[in-house]
């Protein structure tokens, strides 16, 4: 009985990690898709978007960033930037994803 319980703990932890991974992945996918669509609309060639990609270097200007945040709010249901107490400006794609992850409801 005791042994079973010990075994159960890592399973739960694993499951939580997996859930988080899935959430991050789907969040990441939504964000990448939204960015790609926005770049297409701007008639900018869409680069391969990786964690280390610097967003401003893809051709997105501050106006496009603004548009991105509004669209993500429509698809995800929240805007992390309005929930923040201090201003944070994400540089890379992974910075951007982690902000959304952190404030996910």
């Amino acid at each position: 009985m005791r042994r079973l319980r010990i075994l159960l703990i890592p399973v739960v932890v694993l499951q939580k990690l997996l859930e988080k991974e899935i959430m991050t992945n789907s969040l990441r996918k939504t964000m990448i898709d939204t960015i790609a669509l926005l770049l297409e609309e701007e008639l900018i060639p869409v680069p391969e978007l990786q964690d280390s990609t610097v967003l401003l270097e893809t051709g997105l200007d501050s106006l496009a960033f603004a548009v991105l945040v509004v669209r993500l709010e429509e698809s995800l249901g929240y805007d992390p930037f309005t929930l923040m107490t201090e201003a944070v400006y994400p540089r890379t794609l992974s910075d951007f994803v982690s902000i959304y992850e952190q404030y996910a409801p």
Binding site: E41, S62, L63, F65, A66, V67, V69, V70, R71, E74, F81, T82, M84, A87, Y89
Partner: protein, 417 residues
């Protein structure tokens, strides 16, 4: 007055404080003209109703009789009827100016209207019957018109229609305000209305939803919002014989003038001549009106209307309210201007543009549009591309959403929320 016979039309609630400070509540139902019995001379009155008949009764029975009358639309909650606090403060004010009540039969009743409150709490505006009647016409042409009422009777635009028809002793046709716009228009037509005043937003909806063939409208009035060229063109195409007047009225100064040449804005010549009894000037793109009697008016007598204008060729065009301007990454834009541009698209019947705060640019616009029949399914995407190609980048809304209808306030204006 020709009323749609629904009972809700007749209901009104009245709170009264008489000169001795006693207050009472009543329901106006079967006999609105019995108001005179409910209100003793010199009283303070608050009337909450959506009934044009009740407002008409109040004007007839209480002018020169009540000290002050608050006209409160049903959607405005001021707590006046429920707790009487505003009436009490009004009463206290009267105590301080007790000389006002001497010779009471000669005084002008104060009429307090409430602004639509699109920008927060409704603001009381004090009027006299004289200031409310300023735009009433005594011409023979107007005296022969049958007016329809689709405005809220408590607000400036509605009261103007009511007073116009009371003054010219013509029939006023009042549909049930609680039925659809389509049914209200049907009621107006069936009762031979020949003159109608509405906001551009309401007119766009009328053109969209109502059966209009062979309606012999002689007078079309637009007011309360900017009239763009597209709505003027659409109305003159639908009603080729009608006189079309778009009215500019300034709450700040109480001044108003109408333009009847079926072109948006007004001729630049209005700035140099004052034959219309109104003197106008444009300073830093803001329209100023000469009204030296307005409280706090500057030494030269020109008061700001808070309306931004632009001179294009020989016209002065309205761009939007100064207070409504949105700063997007350092560039200014008026939501009204983006709405106007969206409406020029062939598949857009109407549009509402709202500002949203944004961490990267300070603010950003989003838009709701009503599509016309036959609009493509990917209209949202097409509109964004079309805006991108035709307008400065900060004019392009971040999202454009097609909706069935826009939210319209009780005053008939589009709500930017």
């Amino acid at each position: 007055m020709h009323l749609d016979g629904s009972p809700e039309l007749l209901v009104g609630r009245v709170a009264v404080i008489d000169p001795s400070g006693t207050w009472s509540y009543s329901e106006l139902y079967k006999d609105p003209f019995g108001l005179r019995q409910l209100v003793s001379e010199g009283s303070f009155v608050a009337l909450r109703t959506s009934s044009t008949l009740n407002v008409a009764a109040a004007v007839i029975a209480l002018e020169g009789w009540a000290m002050r009358v608050h006209l409160i639309p049903p959607d405005v909650d001021l707590g006046i009827i429920s707790d009487g606090s505003a009436l009490i403060s009004a009463f206290e004010q009267k105590q301080n100016n007790s000389e006002q009540i001497i010779g009471a039969s000669n005084f002008a009743t104060e009429w307090i209207l409430y602004t639509s409150g699109t920008t927060g709490t409704p603001k009381p505006i004090r009027h006299s019957l004289a200031s409310l009647s300023r735009t009433i016409s005594s011409s023979k042409y107007v005296a022969e018109l049958t007016w329809g009422m689709i405005y809220d009777p408590n607000r400036m635009a509605g009261i103007q229609v009511l007073l116009q028809s009371l003054t010219s002793l013509t029939t006023l046709v009042v549909p049930n305000p609680y039925v659809s716009l389509k049914d209200r228009i049907k009621f107006l037509r069936e009762n031979a209305v020949t003159a109608l005043s509405a906001t551009p937003t309401l007119w766009r909806q009328v053109l969209q939803v109502a059966e209009l063939q062979n309606w012999d409208l002689k007078q079309i009035t637009l007011g309360g919002e900017i009239s763009d060229q597209k709505i003027l063109d659409a109305l003159s195409e639908q009603f080729p014989a009608a006189r079309i007047a778009h009215v500019f009225a300034s709450t700040e100064t109480g001044a108003a003038f109408a333009v009847t040449d079926k072109h948006a804005g007004f001729p630049i010549s209005y700035l140099s001549e004052d034959s219309r009894g109104i003197r106008l000037e444009v300073r830093d793109n803001i329209l100023y009106i000469f009204s030296p009697l307005v409280t706090g008016s500057p030494a030269d007598g020109f008061v700001s209307t808070e309306d931004e204008v632009e001179i294009v060729g020989d016209r002065v065009l309205f761009r939007g309210r100064k207070s409504g301007v949105v700063n997007i990454g350092g560039s200014k834009v008026w939501p009204e201007e983006v709405e106007r541009i969206l409406r020029t698209h062939e598949f857009v019947a109407d549009a509402a543009v709202l500002a949203k705060s944004n961490p990267f640019t300070g603010a950003i616009l989003t838009a709701k549009v009503v599509a016309t029949l036959g609009a493509p399914t990917d209209l949202e995407k097409q509109l964004r591309m079309w805006m991108k190609c035709s307008s400065p980048p900060h004019y392009v809304p971040a999202t454009i959403t097609v909706v069935d209808s826009l939210t319209v306030s009780q005053a008939g204006k589009v709500e930017r929320t």
